[in-house]
């Protein structure tokens, strides 16, 4: 993609802020992998390293009242939306201070104050909820939008079809962002679909589908901004396939040895963050010093978040019996 001046889509301050959110996402993710290896929290951890551009960038463009319907592994969508790192870390640590009060498995991040719907592990189910939220905005005559995030694996499920079909019928204010990382846990794309470009699926639903380099921050930015503006202005949904890659296994207990090493190396060489950094430096939006400062601030923010989580209490055992029903009027 040709970019001459990149601050035509976002101004320089916003671009710097976006850059920081990308660095924060990467830093938190890599640090949390280390914490998992030290057995500092229970369960497992679902890293999204390598896929940051596909989630951080679109979420960063949303207003507070806009809805994100994420899958698990959507760290970037949360950080892009503005969810504080300490909230995320408390979720991973299953502490009482987590928005879910310790009920959900690590990486099932949700945050009602910013309209991030806490996900289930049932892949693609959340696409239907997001479509419903978009229907809600239509019924309420609100100019808000929804982003539904999911992976390539989700596009094989029936509820994916039911949701996108309906979103097309009513031209709902929703953008479907598929992170095609080529693997549904251990199953390669060629065993999931006969398609090469998953965006071809959109044709069946009567709205545009595009396939883009999900590791190119500027391409994700431009494409998602156009799609969000269109959805907000009554133009209906867009399906964006971001071709990307998760560097590590499905979770930290998965060595991902089903993938050829040269494939992993190829994608690591296409790391979205240095590509964006280089552009920002070339265009004099950040300096080398500001780049270093971003990483040290991110490390500091993550360290504070970890301290917050580790100093937070666990829920009481009997709290397992709470939060079943809403009791009020």
């Amino acid at each position: 993609m040709e970019v001459t001046t990149i601050d035509t889509i976002l101004d320089k301050e916003k671009l710097k802020d976006l850059y920081y959110h990308l660095v924060l996402t990467r830093t938190l993710d890599e640090e949390t992998r280390k914490l998992f290896k030290q057995a500092r929290f229970a369960g497992t951890y679902f890293s999204a390293v390598g896929q940051e551009a596909t989630t951080v960038v679109p979420s960063f463009l949303l207003d507070n009242d806009d809805v994100v319907a994420p899958s698990h592994r959507e760290l970037g969508a949360n950080i892009g939306k503005g969810v504080p790192p300490k909230v995320i870390m408390a979720q991973i640590y299953a502490r009482k201070t987590s928005p879910d009060k310790g009920k959900s498995h690590p990486c099932h991040y949700g945050y009602a104050p910013l309209n991030v719907i806490t996900p289930a592990s049932t892949v693609a189910g959340q696409i239907v909820l997001g479509t419903g939220a978009a229907l809600g905005f239509r019924l309420l005559n609100k100019k808000n939008v929804v982003i539904s995030f999911f992976g390539d694996g989700a596009t094989s499920r029936g509820c994916f079809h039911e949701a996108l079909n309906f979103a097309g019928v009513h031209k709902l204010p929703i953008v479907f962002i598929c992170q095609n990382n080529l693997w549904a846990e251990s199953v390669p794309l060629k065993l999931q679909t006969a398609l090469t470009d998953l965006s071809d699926r959109a044709k069946a639903y009567g709205f545009p589908g595009v396939s883009i380099d999900g590791n190119d921050v500027m391409e994700v930015l431009k494409t998602s901004k156009e799609a969000l503006d269109k959805a907000r202005n009554g133009g209906g949904p867009t399906f964006i396939e971001c071709k990307t890659y998760r560097w590590y296994g499905h979770s930290e207990i998965d060595p991902a040895d089903y993938r050829p090493p040269e494939e992993v190396e190829y994608w690591k060489s296409r790391d979205p963050i240095p590509r964006f950094e280089q552009l920002l430096i070339e265009q004099k939006i950040i300096t080398e010093e500001e780049k270093k400062a971003a990483y040290s601030k991110a490390k500091q923010d993550v360290d504070e978040a970890v301290a917050y989580a580790e100093n937070s209490p666990f829920p009481q055992a009997e709290e397992a019996l709470e939060d079943l029903y809403y009791e009020g009027e």
Binding site: I117, V128, G132, L135, V169
Partner: protein, 327 residues
């Protein structure tokens, strides 16, 4: 007071609640222009518009999941599942999303969705238009499940469900739609969720049931009264949360429990009721807890003699009651 059928009671509840709350909407297959295959939503699209009474594609997962999603931005929903038999594609959304969203978010979200589900047989519906699958949902904490047996309860329970702010499965029995008429109040009323109703007082034995068979139990009770078997009929009305207090109070008084439901016996709600009685009223029992239920076959067969064989009836209830009374 005015006289209504069971289905008219449902339509009245929907209309009044839609008028009362402009955040309430409904979606489902054929509910709009057509007014629903049984006409439960007749006239509502004309009154409230195409978006608030929304005709959907053949997509039960969407009907359930989009209803849930819409509530997350401030709406309330009362989707229709045209036949209980067709609810299976929606199970993922009902069980994994509706029932668990509040819990998994630590109470961050509430899910005010009432799934109206048309259930039950005895009308020549065959395998796929006759099922009673309420036990699938009673097994799932996070949901509430109601099953009215009369026009009065149909209206009052539907209103209470719509105002409840939690995901509720509302089972309406299609054989009751036009077979019952009852006087109901002109003024607004609700029937509280979680409260059973003692439809008939008696001392000999307790019949504990819900939905269509409540009416069969009352018929059977008339016959049995002639034989001096005084039956108490408990209409559960809500299956989750179940009114344990009334079940136990009744069984402690009579010492005999007959549980009746149309769904097949194994894994049915009756087993749970029997367990409650065994756990908490064992010392009061004078006879084994007994169940009258559908046979354990995959679904209600179509041909009339087999359908009749499947259905519970006043006679089957009376026969079981006689045996229990004589024990």
């Amino acid at each position: 007071m005015h006289k209504v059928t069971y289905i008219e009671a449902i339509t009245e509840a929907l209309r009044e609640e839609m008028e009362r709350d402009d955040k309430l909407f409904m979606m489902g297959e054929d509910i709009g222009l057509y007014g629903g295959v049984f006409k439960a939503t007749k006239g509502l699209q004309k009154q409230f518009g195409e978006m608030r009474v929304l005709d959907t594609p053949l997509s039960e997962s969407l009907i359930a999941g989009a209803s849930i999603g819409a509530t997350l931005v401030g709406l309330k929903a009362v989707p229709e599942i045209q036949f209980a038999d067709f609810i299976t594609p929606a199970m993922d959304q009902i069980i994994q999303q509706a029932a668990k969203l509040r819990y998994r978010s630590g109470g961050s979200y509430r899910v005010p969705v009432v799934f109206r589900v048309c259930c039950g047989g005895g009308i020549g519906g065959g395998l796929y238009h006759s099922q009673s699958n309420e036990a699938w949902f009673v097994d799932q904490p996070g949901l509430k499940v109601v099953a009215p047996a009369t026009p009065y309860d149909a209206k009052g329970l539907l209103k209470a469900a719509i105002r409840d702010n939690n995901p509720i499965i509302y089972f309406e029995h299609k054989k009751l739609y036009r077979s019952l008429k009852q006087d109901i109040p002109d003024d607004d009323y609700i029937v509280p969720i979680g409260k059973a109703d003692r439809k008939l007082e008696g001392e000999t034995l307790s019949i504990i049931t819900y939905g269509l068979p409540v009416n069969y139990a009352l018929e059977a009770a008339k016959e049995l009264a002639k034989e001096n078997i005084k039956v108490e009929v408990i209409d559960l009305r809500t299956l989750l949360p179940i009114d344990k207090d009334m079940i136990l109070e009744s069984v402690k008084k009579t010492g005999r429990a007959l549980i009746v439901h149309e769904a097949n016996k194994t894994g049915g709600v009756g087993g749970e009721i029997a367990a409650i009685i065994a756990e908490e009223a064992f010392d009061y029992l004078d006879a084994p807890v007994t169940r009258v239920a559908g046979p354990d076959v995959p679904a209600m067969p179509f041909s009339p003699p087999m359908e009749e064989f499947f259905m519970v009836s006043p006679k089957k209830i009376a026969d079981a009651a006689r045996k229990l009374a004589a024990y």
